[in-house]
């Protein structure tokens, strides 16, 4: 009789090894999608409007901002030399992607605490927990995105071929938010201050990124010397500025993304992602001790 195949199921020495991550994630793919599926099913279980909330939320906010900018600050909006794109779609585009970013980062930060039952009791690659938090909001994003396209189609009566750039830009956004999610969730396990910091930071980011205004306004403000010019470069350090601007470029303006932004945000998000994976892996094996 042949001896039973001796396959190692768990080896404590390998738990901190980075090289193990891709292998572990492939093995745990069903768990990952199980968790995402669970969120999808549970989220709107008792809500009558269900997934409509994915649209209602950004639309309400958009209408509010539209009101503010069209009536209250009307005189102060700088004119641009570009093709006129309605303010409504501009704001909606910013909001939908920003909301994806902010909800994935904030749920990822709290995800380990929220799933502490699992972390404390079951063995599986912990990466799937924050990752499921960044994957799940894609559902809302897609609904919102379809809505955005419809609105755009109704107002502009045209869709651009440059939409296909999304295949590159969205993964940048995804890796960036996943990376941040991994870093922040690890930090949050050890320092519960992080949770509060993330909330403050996201509110700050909402105003400090071109969500409800185009990047051009910032540039204009700097060119008009109402702000020092270095402020513009400082502003650009925020990768969300580049990502959101590029998204607007290809969805609304029907233009190719700006190469500098594309290049810069890719670098930042990759850096962020791999740092996240590294830090997370080094810490994840002992999370259960701190929860």
């Amino acid at each position: 009789m042949n001896p039973l195949p001796k396959s190692v199921y768990y080896d404590s020495d390998k738990q901190k090894s980075i090289l193990q991550v891709p292998y572990d994630l492939i093995k745990a793919r069903e768990i990952l999608f199980g968790l995402v599926w669970k969120e999808i099913k549970a989220r709107y279980r008792y809500a009558i409007l269900g997934f409509l909330w994915a649209i209602i939320e950004p639309v309400t906010l958009m209408l509010l901002l539209l009101f503010v900018f069209s009536f209250v600050f009307k005189q102060r909006i700088p004119s641009t030399d570009r093709v006129e794109v309605p303010m409504a779609t501009q704001i909606l585009c910013g909001l939908i992607f920003w909301q994806y970013f902010s909800s994935s980062v904030s749920t990822a930060t709290f995800s380990l605490i929220n799933h502490q039952n699992l972390v404390k009791k079951v063995f599986f690659p912990r990466e799937v927990i924050p990752l499921s938090s960044t994957i799940y909001p894609i559902v809302n994003l897609s609904i919102g995105f379809i809505f955005l396209l419809s609105v755009h189609l109704i107002l502009q009566k045209t869709l651009s071929i440059h939409l296909f750039w999304l295949i590159i830009i969205f993964p940048i956004l995804f890796t960036f938010s996943s990376g941040l999610g991994l870093i922040l969730s690890t930090a949050h396990v050890h320092f519960r201050d992080i949770g509060n910091m993330v909330n403050v930071g996201l509110t700050f980011g909402f105003y400090a990124s071109p969500v409800f205004y185009p990047l051009d306004w910032v540039r204009h403000a700097c060119e008009n010397h109402s702000l020092p010019y270095w402020f513009y470069y400082l502003y650009l350090l925020n990768p969300m500025a580049g990502i959101l601007t590029n998204l607007r470029e290809c969805i609304l303006y029907g233009q190719a993304p700006q190469p500098f932004f594309l290049f810069y945000t890719t670098i930042i998000s990759m850096l962020c992602f791999f740092t996240g994976i590294y830090i997370f892996r080094k810490q994840s094996a002992t999370f259960s001790d701190y929860l």
Binding site: Y10, D11, E30, A42, N117, A285
Partner: protein, 704 residues
């Protein structure tokens, strides 16, 4: 060669002491962290090494906080060891996460998929067993409802069902089986047994030492993070039991010589002689039986209210019964006297009170109810109470001993004013390999012992005796119960008389020996089930008195020996308390199988061989007319005659009993003639006047 499925090498686990960063400057605070100053860590596991092999069931025991759960977590892969290495060669499912990861808003079915996925099952695999899982959980009606509508028991049921069907190679079982109702717990144990049969490896953490002993091949004891491994399961458990006791709440009392000590600890008494423990680790416990369930005295809160050199007064309230024990223990002159009493805080249908004395295996002989015997070896895994000799109502003392200088002979006596006392002795491997002596006090329904208030229940006396004292006691015990005839000795037992040939010292009676039985309301009532007093002398005669517990009959046997002619005259009287109808009665003598001839005044014949299929009594003689005697003879055996002086009343019969008894029975039967029954009025009735006559093989038969 067997390969380990779990390997632990020098595993150490330290937990950081976390105080939170509330205080920024204090020890272990934020500034220390910035400066990189290490704080003292709590060491939960200290250099643990062991291998677990495929198919083993391993128990982990230890006090709370000894590191059991940490060890299980490390095996489950939930946390990493601080140092050392652990390798696991098979899929692990831990039953510690029952219901962990259940999302309250999802339905039971959805959660099964989710949970099974977390335990490493593919969706297709879950599809195959989902029906079995639902059946096992037993909550099919609720399976499509969100689990936040479930009770906590249902949660656990589903959790256990999933975990037990994911088919891993290693199971980690934490203290989870104590949840759920009785039936589900049984199902769980059965399922664990099944998994064991299938060759799964099970690692088991429990405080239930009985289960650990029953299930496990090996036991590891954790003590402050260190592993203590005694070679055998029972040795480890014994060590642990002693360790528990050592901690606190220990009170020692000694007798004058300081040679005999009793140690009281939380409702358990252990005895020591010359500094050596003579009880097994379970010691002496009191048990209150309520609704078929025993409540052990050690499952209670005890306080010692008074302690002097030789006396100890302790009070204990049971956790799960409104019963408060009060034990007064006195030790002097090599004797421990326990005066138990208890207070009921409300009326309680108690069924019995028991005192169990557990002795180490080395004690291997006993003397009980006239029988001296050996304990059989303790079979491993035998969790039941295996009785060595049938218990006898009213028998309130026993001796336990062994031929070992370090272990004194023990005499156990249980005295109470309430009837319904008996003692059981035997073996058990429950928790720890022991001999047990269990002193019972049965409490009848509506007894005053169930009422509110304080009740004292007599004395439990345990004395250390020497071999001489035992032999003297035994001699006088037998003396008091033996009638010497010429070459025959009659031993008076509980409800029967045994006859022994003094030349060969072999018994000539067996099976029923000499006894009498009545048929009342269609049921045979033999004298053996009466409650008999110790025999006593009255003039030339010996009197045996026995009382039926069921019918208002008291039997009085008057035995008058005529030693020189080897004759024992027997008068059987009946004291009737209420009118009673007796349909029939007889006086029988069961003889050994070698007797093969019988003879009455009317006819004679031979006993045929008993065929193996015979299951009933078979009357052999044909003529049933009342007569005076029946005799039997056998080769090289004394002739035996059963005779009566009421020759009109009794018919004589020779009987072959069933095959398993392998005896010959001679009987005088009294059947009413015209009336259908003997109608006995209250008062004394002489129901048999006669006797037994023996004749030596060599002497010629005389006429009677």
């Amino acid at each position: 060669m067997q390969e380990p499925i779990i390997e632990l090498k020098n595993v150490t686990k330290e937990y950081p002491v976390r105080k939170g960063f509330r205080d920024l400057r204090g020890q272990g605070g934020f500034l220390d962290w910035i400066r990189g100053k290490k704080t003292e860590n709590f060491r939960a596991l200290d250099n643990i090494n062991f291998d677990i092999y495929r198919g083993e069931t391993v128990g982990i025991i230890g006090k709370n906080g000894s590191g059991k759960s940490t060890l299980l977590k490390i095996i489950a892969g939930v946390t990493l060891p601080t140092a050392g290495r652990i390798i696991v060669y098979g899929r692990v499912a831990s039953l510690l996460e029952l219901g962990a990861g259940f999302h309250p808003l999802l339905t039971g079915r959805e959660n099964i998929y989710l949970n099974a996925g977390l335990l490493g099952m593919r969706k297709a695999q879950v599809n195959e067993v989902i029906e079995q899982i639902i059946d096992f959980s037993g909550i099919r009606e609720f399976i499509d409802q969100p689990v936040d509508t479930y009770s906590s028991g249902m949660y656990v049921r589903i959790g256990f069902a999933v975990a037990s069907f994911v088919n891993p190679e290693i199971f980690l079982v934490d203290e989870v089986l104590s949840v759920g109702d009785e039936e589900f717990q049984r199902k769980c144990r059965y399922r664990i047994g099944e998994l064991r049969e299938q060759g799964k490896t099970i690692v088991f953490v429990s405080h239930d030492l009985g289960t650990v002993n029953a299930l496990c091949n090996r036991v590891f004891l954790l003590d402050h993070g260190k592993l203590i491994d005694r070679d055998s399961v029972s040795a480890t458990i014994d060590f642990y039991l002693r360790q528990i006791g050592r901690a606190e709440g220990i009170h020692t009392i000694t007798d004058e010589t300081n040679n005999f000590e009793a140690i009281f600890s939380h409702g358990r008494i252990s005895l020591f002689h010359s500094k050596r423990e003579i009880t097994s680790p379970l010691g002496i416990e009191g048990i209150a039986v309520h609704l078929q369930q025993g409540h052990i005295s050690s499952m209670g809160d005890w306080t010692v209210t008074k302690r002097e050199k030789g006396t100890l007064l302790a009070r204990g309230s049971l956790y799960r019964l409104p019963l408060q024990w009060e034990w007064k223990t006195e030790i002097s002159n090599n004797t421990l006297c326990l005066y138990p009493s208890y207070t009921l805080l409300k009326e309680l249908p108690l069924q019995a009170l028991e005192f169990q004395i557990f002795l180490p295996e080395i004690y291997d002989r006993f003397f009980y109810a006239g029988n001296e015997g050996n304990f059989s070896p303790i079979l491993p895994g035998n969790l039941g109470w295996v009785t060595m000799t049938p218990p006898k109502m009213g028998e309130n003392s026993t001796f336990i001993f062994c031929e070992h200088d370090n272990y004194p002979f023990l005499k156990v006596e249980f005295q109470s004013e309430d009837p319904g006392i008996y003692i059981r002795i035997g073996n058990t491997d429950y928790i720890s390999r022991s001999r047990f002596i269990s002193c019972h006090l049965l409490i009848p329904e509506t007894s005053h012992l169930q009422k509110i208030g304080n009740h004292s229940i007599g004395i439990l006396k345990i004395s250390l005796v020497t071999k001489e004292e035992y032999n003297n006691w035994k001699f006088s015990w037998l003396q008091q119960r033996t009638i010497q005839l010429n070459f025959i000795e009659a031993r008076l037992r509980e409800g029967f008389i045994e006859f022994i040939d003094k030349n060969t010292m072999k018994p000539i009676t067996q099976s029923v020996h000499f006894h009498t039985q009545f048929r009342i309301q269609g049921m045979w009532v033999p004298s053996q089930i009466f409650l008999w007093r110790t025999p006593y002398h009255e003039g030339h005669s010996w009197i045996m008195e026995g009382e039926s517990q069921r019918f208002p009959i008291k039997l009085k046997w008057e035995l008058t020996p005529a030693s020189e002619i080897d004759c024992l005259h027997i008068k059987i009287g009946c004291e009737i308390k209420e009118e009673i109808n007796i349909e029939e009665y007889n006086v029988s003598l069961g003889l050994i199988y070698s007797y093969n001839q019988w003879e009455t005044s009317l006819e004679k014949g031979e006993f045929p061989a008993i065929p193996p299929q015979q299951e009933e009594y078979l009357h052999i003689n044909k003529d049933y007319t009342p007569s005076k005697y029946i005799c039997t003879t056998g080769i090289n055996l004394p002739a035996v005659c059963l005779f009566t002086n009421q020759e009109n009343l009794f018919r004589m019969s020779a009987i072959n009993p069933d095959f398993s008894s392998r005896a010959r029975i001679i009987q005088s039967i009294a059947t009413p003639e015209q009336k259908a029954v003997f109608h006995l009025k209250p008062g004394y009735h002489l129901i048999f006047d006669g006797g037994i006559q023996f004749q030596h093989v060599n002497t010629h038969k005389q006429d009677i």
